[in-house]
């Protein structure tokens, strides 16, 4: 079966300028969204605080929960409803004593609903010290992974390919963060894990096309780099679409069936994968092409 005819000859290179404009717009929207929301919606992993996931035997309204929390002066907490019976309560880090916080919340819930009238499914408490630690580590991990990719690709191909790759990665991370910000999703540790995975996947994708470009360049064809790129991208189109589709489907299944805990992670991955494929064709390659115009590559056999 052939999804893509073997003789496709789409002029990708021709649409590079248009693509560049689109990319800039998308990046602008992403950064704009983050600025408009006043920063990222940081979860407790970074901002500190307490999160409790509580399930009730019957449908319970957020108002009644808020009332119950009024006793311990936590009615200002954020209460998110997962389902009619299950909520997630998030208290701000600014609350005085982090240590006894979860037990006090449990006491308040006991008073309002009776000891067996609720079930605590999950508790996460992050002190400010740990929160800062995690934030630092997260930023370092992402930045260092970019650098590591740059080094590896530059070594296996040429420096310009590394640059193309890393710009594509930065684009992917920004776009993913932007979409999450637009949807006002919470930024947690697992989102960082998703971002790092996206870095890995996107560069994976980029390298497959680079590999083909490298192979075609070495063949000594009497074509300029732009034409070689077109050929390469067309040749690998079948594989690119196929693999992206399988990963995409797999993620959709995870999104629908994986449960609430994984939801944000899977969402981020989905955005990242789509962005990853786009950036491979329309960001990494054009950059290498632009570089070529300034200084021709040494990889070609003339």
């Amino acid at each position: 079966m052939e999804l893509i005819k073997s003789s496709t000859n789409i002029n990708f290179v021709g649409s590079f300028k248009v693509a560049a404009t689109i990319s800039l717009i998308v990046i602008a929207i992403s950064i704009g969204s983050v600025i408009m929301h006043g920063g990222l919606n940081l979860g407790i992993d970074f901002a500190g605080g307490t999160v409790m996931q509580v399930k009730f035997p019957k449908a319970t309204s957020t108002e009644s929960i808020r009332d119950a929390l009024k006793q311990i002066k936590l009615e200002g907490s954020i209460i998110q409803q997962f389902s009619s019976q299950e909520v997630v309560i998030r208290t701000a880090e600014a609350s005085s004593d982090l240590k006894g916080l979860s037990s006090r919340v449990k006491e308040a819930l006991s008073t309002a609903y009776g000891k067996g009238g609720y079930e605590v499914r999950r508790v996460e408490v992050v002190g400010p010290k740990v929160g800062k630690d995690i934030t630092n580590k997260a930023i370092m991990a992402i930045v260092f992974s970019w650098i590591a990719m740059l080094v590896y690709v530059a070594w296996r191909f040429e420096f310009r390919f590394g640059v193309g790759g890393i710009v594509a990665l930065i684009h992917d991370v920004i776009v993913t963060i932007g979409v999450l910000s637009l949807l006002n999703r919470e930024f947690s540790l697992t989102i960082i894990a998703a971002l790092l995975t996206i870095v890995g996947y996107s560069i994976n994708d980029t390298i497959v096309i680079y590999d083909r470009i490298r192979e075609n360049m070495r063949k000594g064809l009497k074509k300029n780099l732009g034409e070689i790129m077109n050929i390469s991208i067309n040749e690998t189109l079948g594989r690119t679409i196929l693999t992206s589709l399988t990963v995409f489907f797999v993620l959709v299944i995870l999104l629908v069936m994986g449960g609430e805990v994984l939801y944000d992670f899977t969402l981020a991955m989905l955005v990242g994968v789509i962005s990853g494929v786009y950036s491979t064709v329309y960001i990494a390659s054009p950059l290498v092409l632009a570089w070529e115009k300034i200084r021709p590559s040494k990889m070609r056999k003339i």
Partner: protein
């Protein structure tokens, strides 16, 4: 690669069999005993987010440990100075310093001698002479401070381990992290609050005398006599659930501490069925106790835990035999926990909870179910897709996929890696990404066939040319996974592990195993066309 199909097939079979061996214990409990003894009976280790349990990050307040040590030093120094007839106006500890005020001209030089002879760990940080008085500031030497801090963490580790052991959690993990942090993992724990209290309790038990000579009311108004301290006891009214506190005026000097206790047990009193803790002193402690009770008959001896007075009974007579009782308004659990901390010993410094992650067993169970279903359906989808798109070659890809899963799970069991919920996501993702290697090879083979090569040549060329792409792309994803592993906490680490193992296994199955099958058909069966 080895040319012989037989050798390669045997190698592949061995690897897969090994994976199966490691996998079986997790799937079934009915293994023959020979298996359990000689091979392995380890099930796959589930993370806390799948089996339920709690993960705590504790921080030992090492500065307080240094301050307590310094306090003890200060008291000893006072005694030594007095024994050696070195006069001083005042000696007290303020935070990290001991301040000694003396008359100028008084044998000040002897402070240095005293330090040299008796207190080598202390050094004079500074000294100044003002208006006829000489003030010396003493501190611990930096080396000693580092020692105390290290010791505090080690002791805390040991004590917490003892406490958790007695709490009866299966497979707890208590690991130090960094210079002053301790990670405690308690799988399957039901009552998290109780565990946190048990672990975090400093549990410093002290015996002090009640000061009956001075007025309690005066002290409450603010006039606490020299050498005395005002402490409170808390009573819980069982019926109303309310708490009342009563003040006690005590002599500050601690006569005995929990270190003198050899064992502690929970008992139930005949009179009201109340629980209390019966303690037994070690021989030295028993002797001390006898002496103290003998010297203070009819006075009251306060029993204080972490600065709260539990009780202050009257000493009726000198008590030999080294036994005592701690009573209070205890529930059975309270008494049990008190006995545990008394047996395990006091923490040398206060311990703060920096981070807590608790997952209830029901959520854990839910997560496992959702994870397994997602994996299954994703797998089915990909298998069908491969079949439809690549026809018979698709079957080969599917076989590779199934083997891939087998190797992945087997490796998890073999390396005793922990499977977490993100780890299951990693398995699902691997299903999607692992096919990539197969796709690269198959597409390449198709291309080569189109240029007119024979089946054998096309297969050879396909694998060779696709190899560089597969290698480079997988290596970079692996690099990302390494970063993930370094940076992530428990659940995220689990994701990095499954992704890594999954990718390596996929390279093995895609490059090595499928090649065996293709070569078999191309060389042994000598087919002329390839269904791909």
């Amino acid at each position: 690669m080895f040319k012989s199909i037989r050798i390669r097939a045997a190698l592949a079979a061995v690897v897969c069999l090994a994976a199966l061996v490691y996998l079986l214990p997790s799937v079934t409990d009915n293994l023959p005993s020979f298996w359990k003894e000689h091979l392995t009976k380890e099930k796959i280790h589930l993370g806390l987010d799948l089996q339920g349990g709690t993960h705590l990050v504790l921080e030992v307040d090492t500065n307080k440990a240094v301050e307590s040590s310094l306090e003890r030093m200060a008291n000893n120094l006072k005694d030594t100075l007095m024994e050696n007839k070195v006069r001083f106006h005042n000696l007290e500890r303020r935070k990290g310093d001991i301040i000694v005020e003396m008359q100028e001209g008084a044998p000040g030089g002897s402070i240095e001698n005293i330090l040299k002879d008796h207190f080598p760990d202390l050094e004079i940080a500074s000294s100044e002479k003002v208006a006829g008085k000489e003030t010396a500031t003493l501190r611990f030497q930096a080396k000693r401070i580092a020692e105390i801090k290290k010791l505090a963490v080690e002791q805390s580790l040991e004590t917490i381990r003892n406490r958790v052991d007695q709490f009866g959690v299966s497979e707890p993990e208590i690991i130090p992290e960094g210079t002053d942090r301790i990670i405690v993992q308690l799988p399957g724990i039901k009552d998290v609050e109780r565990a946190k209290n048990l672990i975090g309790k400093t549990a410093l038990l002290e015996f002090k005398l009640v000061d009956d000579e001075h007025s309690l009311d005066d002290a409450l108004k603010g006039n606490v006599p020299e050498g005395d301290v005002l402490l409170y006891g808390y009573n819980q009214n069982r019926e109303t659930g309310g708490r009342t506190s009563s003040p006690y005026l005590l002599k500050n000097k601690t006569l005995m501490t929990g270190e003198s206790i050899e064992s502690a047990q929970v008992k139930i009193s005949d009179r009201f069925g109340e629980s209390y803790v019966s303690i037994k002193f070690n021989p030295q402690g028993a002797a001390d106790f006898e002496r103290i009770t003998g010297e203070n008959v009819k006075k009251r001896l306060a029993i204080i835990l972490d600065g709260a007075v539990y009780s202050a009974p009257v000493i009726q007579e000198r008590i030999g035999g080294g036994q005592a009782q701690i009573t209070g308004s205890f529930t059975l659990d309270d008494a049990k926990d008190l006995a545990i901390v008394l047996r395990a010993g006091a923490l040398p410094a206060p311990v703060n909870v920096l981070e807590e992650r608790t997952v209830g067993p029901s959520l854990g169970q839910d997560s496992i179910e959702k994870g397994l279903w997602s994996t299954f359906i994703a797998g089915m989808l990909v298998i069908i897709f491969m079949l439809v798109y690549y026809k018979l070659s698709g079957i080969i890809a599917d076989v590779a996929l199934l083997l891939n899963m087998l190797l992945l799970v087997g490796a998890l069991a073999a390396f005793r890696a922990t499977l977490t919920l993100p780890g299951i996501a990693g398995i699902v993702l691997t299903i999607g990404m692992a096919v990539d290697a197969n796709v690269l090879i198959f597409e390449r083979i198709k291309e080569e066939l189109r240029t007119g090569k024979t089946v054998r040549a096309a297969i050879e060329a396909g694998y060779n040319k696709a190899f560089s792409a597969i290698l480079d792309s997988n290596v970079t994803t692996l690099i990302a996974a390494v970063f993930l592993f370094q940076f992530g906490t428990g659940p995220v680490k689990g994701f990095a592990v499954t992704l890594t193992i999954g990718l390596i296994a996929s390279m093995f199955t895609a490059i090595f195993v499928t090649r065996i099958i293709f070569d078999y058909f191309a060389w042994s069966k000598k087919i002329q066309t390839l269904s791909v």
